[in-house]
């Protein structure tokens, strides 16, 4: 299990899964504390019209146009939610519900109307991703990690996801102070001159970048699950933000590794033939972790209640 086959077939998907999970969990911590956890849900629904639109414009199924299309769709969705919230005086949850279901419906309709029979583009792909197929054919063993020629054969999702993760980490580190201040005490942050509105919008944009980069490799389910479950579980473990983020990264990594291994090898251990969906299993594992934290977490109750 740890030999050449592992490096070629399992290492890249596991790494991509970890990178995607952590990249979503980091902004997820702040979204959770700001009670905007469902923004991730909304963004990952509108990815579908984005990629279909990109396909209709460019005519090819390629990574970059799709990611740009998905990003544009995410921004349009955020703009529509804000517009409906302000113009109509609608509470944010309902405004979100109106926008993401409508855009998703538009995406499905576009997909049905356009001629996508020749290319691999469907709703299931956007939802589940295709983690299992991201294999590294040039990986002959652990020594291939030092071989420049073999490294060039890595699935392109791996460096893309790694870059996204680095970007998210860098932005979180750079804007740590304004981000934490405006998350916990908006009024105080404003009195210190922190541009609260810009920080909030920036956070949503970073979340959108992480979501769009991740969906391509792992699908929307993991994106939604990783935005919410690891930070929520971490929230039940501690009262300190730094510690919470550390826990959430741990939980995200754990979900990705355990989920992938259980999906790939679990059925074999039980005597079945085929593997099950890795994306679904990773989401399930993150849910189990959250359930455990909700039952045993040291800081699971609200302050003031026993």
């Amino acid at each position: 299990m740890m030999g050449a086959e592992f490096v070629a077939l399992s290492l890249p998907p596991i790494l991509i899964g970890i990178f995607a999970a952590v990249a979503c969990a980091l902004p997820g911590n702040f979204l959770l504390l700001r009670k905007q956890a469902l923004i991730g849900d909304a963004i990952s629904h509108v990815v579908l019209p984005g990629i279909v639109g990109a396909f209709l414009v460019t005519g090819v199924v390629a990574a970059w146009p799709m990611m740009i299309g998905a990003g544009v769709a995410a921004l349009i969705a955020v703009g529509m939610i804000e517009a409906i919230r302000r113009l109509g005086g609608i509470e944010p949850g309902a405004a979100m519900g109106v926008v993401f279901t409508t855009l998703f419906a538009a995406g499905v309709l576009l997909l049905e109307q356009s001629d996508t029979s020749t290319v691999h583009l469907d709703v299931e792909h956007a939802l589940y991703g295709n983690l299992e197929s991201l294999i590294w054919l040039d990986g002959m063993g652990w020594h291939s990690l030092l071989d420049a020629g073999a490294l060039r054969g890595l699935p392109p999702e791996l460096p893309r996801m790694a870059l996204t993760l680095l970007l998210v980490i860098a932005l979180t580190w750079l804007f740590w102070r304004p981000l934490t201040l405006s998350t916990f005490d908006e009024g105080f942050a404003r009195s210190l001159g922190v541009p609260v509105g810009a920080v909030g919008l920036g956070l949503v944009i970073v979340a959108a970048i992480a979501a769009v980069a991740a969906f391509d490799a792992v699908g929307s389910i993991i994106v939604i699950a990783m935005f919410i479950c690891p930070p929520a579980a971490a929230r039940l473990m501690t009262n300190r933000l730094e510690v919470q983020i550390a826990w959430s990264v741990t939980f995200a990594t754990l979900s990705a590794v355990l989920g992938y291994v259980l999906a790939g090898y679990g059925p074999l251990w039980l005597g079945f033939q085929d593997a099950v969906s890795a994306a679904g299993m990773i989401a399930t594992v993150s849910g189990v972790i959250l359930a455990l934290a909700a039952v045993f977490g040291p800081c699971r109750t609200r302050a003031g209640t026993a």
């Binding site: 629904h45 109509g88 949850g93 499905v108 389910i221 079945f272 085929d274």
Partner: protein, 404 residues
């Protein structure tokens, strides 16, 4: 073609789907209103995604028992059970831990959906060669709708509607003010569960037509659209039911006119169209009404300021003020006041002086709170009070007022 579809002349299947979708929309709109008014619209998102593992497990159970596995009542029962479990998880996470409801919703919807996907892949490998077709529950599929399916939807929708009618008063109270409802001796928790249970029933019934991802739209969009038109709960519920029903009917009819127009998405888009119309056109809360209100207010402020300037002999430069005053015949094209303009200007100045006097006198504190620079004092004080107030004015002011 569309006309034939709207008058139910496109064949048996199209008619079944259209009537089914209309009933579903009606029931969903009315039920969703209470979720929306209680600011819990997105709970329906968790409910709907949590149906997937139930559908898959029910399929497996029915196959294991030697059945076909695709019998709709069995699948719906499974989906109802698993979404009820999901609902209880949301409620447990919200009540027993420090997590807020939106985090609980997101966690439940993603985890249950993920589990459902895992189970779907298990089914795929289990019945290799025979497509279970359970993916159609994601987006709905009306192509092979049977008479019994339509019957299940119609009966379910009617039952939900009857329960909504029965429970509308307690649900309204709980949605608006849970504390008051508890104080009035209601079992808030049970009523909330009933509210969620009705949404759950709608979700389960709607799986076949619009699918689990889009059923949320039918619960949320009609209610949000209806809210623009009325401030009364009963009216909003009726309107939401109407908007939902029309969306279902028209959407299903449109989708029957051509291939490649899936029912669920079209129904949702029609509902969104009605929402957009409401957002723009509704009187009172609509965008157009708000713009008109703003313009009227702006005009009043400009004219008032222009009149005060006229009365005090100051020149007016502001282009909008000039245009408005010319349009009302208060000044001539060259900017000189007309007779009507002079009269109104004097009245405006008198009003302003009276207000000044009133606001400097602590005895009139209550009336002074009405000051906004636009309300004429005549509408605040009685004639006697006005006359008493006028005694404090300087002679010049009264004379100016007496000119008119």
């Amino acid at each position: 073609m569309l006309l034939e579809a709207l008058t139910l002349q496109l064949g048996y299947n199209a008619t079944l789907v259209t009537i089914g979708a209309a009933l579903l929309g009606l029931a969903a709109g009315a039920t969703g209103t209470f979720l929306f008014l209680g600011k819990r619209a997105l709970v329906s998102d968790a409910i709907s995604h949590a149906t997937l593992p139930g559908v898959a497990l029910a399929f497996m159970a029915m196959v294991a028992l030697g059945g076909d596995g695709r019998a709709l009542p069995g699948l719906l029962l499974g989906s109802a059970i698993s979404s009820a479990v999901g609902l209880l998880c949301v409620s447990a996470l919200t009540n027993r831990t420090r997590l807020s409801e939106d985090a609980a919703i997101g966690a439940v919807l993603s985890v249950f959906f993920g589990l459902g996907v895992v189970l779907l892949t298990v089914i795929q490998s289990m019945s290799s060669g025979r497509q279970a077709g359970l993916e159609s529950f994601l987006l709905g599929s009306t192509a092979g709708m049977l008479w019994t399916d339509a019957l299940v939807i119609a009966l379910g929708g009617a039952l939900v509607l009857a329960l909504v009618a029965l429970l509308r008063r307690p649900m309204t109270m709980v949605a608006f003010d849970p504390e008051f409802a508890a104080g009035a001796g209601m079992n808030v928790r049970r009523i909330e569960l009933a509210m969620m249970g009705l949404a759950l029933a709608i979700t389960v019934v709607g799986l076949k037509i619009v699918g689990l991802i889009l059923i949320v739209a039918l619960l949320i969009i009609p209610a949000v659209a209806a809210r623009f038109w009325s401030e009364r709960v009963d009216h909003v519920v009726l309107l939401a039911g109407g908007i939902g029903g029309v969306s279902g009917y028209v959407g299903a009819a449109i989708s029957a006119t051509a291939p490649g127009l899936p029912t669920g998405p079209i129904v949702v888009l029609v509902a969104f169209g009605l929402f957009a119309l409401s957002l723009v056109l509704a009187p009172g809360r609509g965008v157009l009404a708000a713009i008109l209100r703003h313009r009227r207010f702006q005009a009043r402020v400009h004219v008032r300021q222009g009149l005060l300037a006229l009365a005090q002999g100051q020149p007016i430069y502001e282009p909008l003020t000039l245009r408005l005053m010319r349009g009302r015949g208060l000044i001539r094209a060259d900017g000189v006041a007309t007779k009507a303009g002079r009269a109104q200007a004097a009245r405006a100045l008198l009003d302003e002086r009276r207000w000044q006097l009133l606001r400097s006198d602590p005895a009139h504190e209550e009336a002074a709170a009405h000051y906004d620079g636009l309300t004429p004092l005549e509408s605040v004080l009685t004639p006697d009070q006005l006359r008493a107030l006028d005694r404090g004015l300087r002679p010049g002011d009264v004379q100016a007022g007496a000119l008119q």
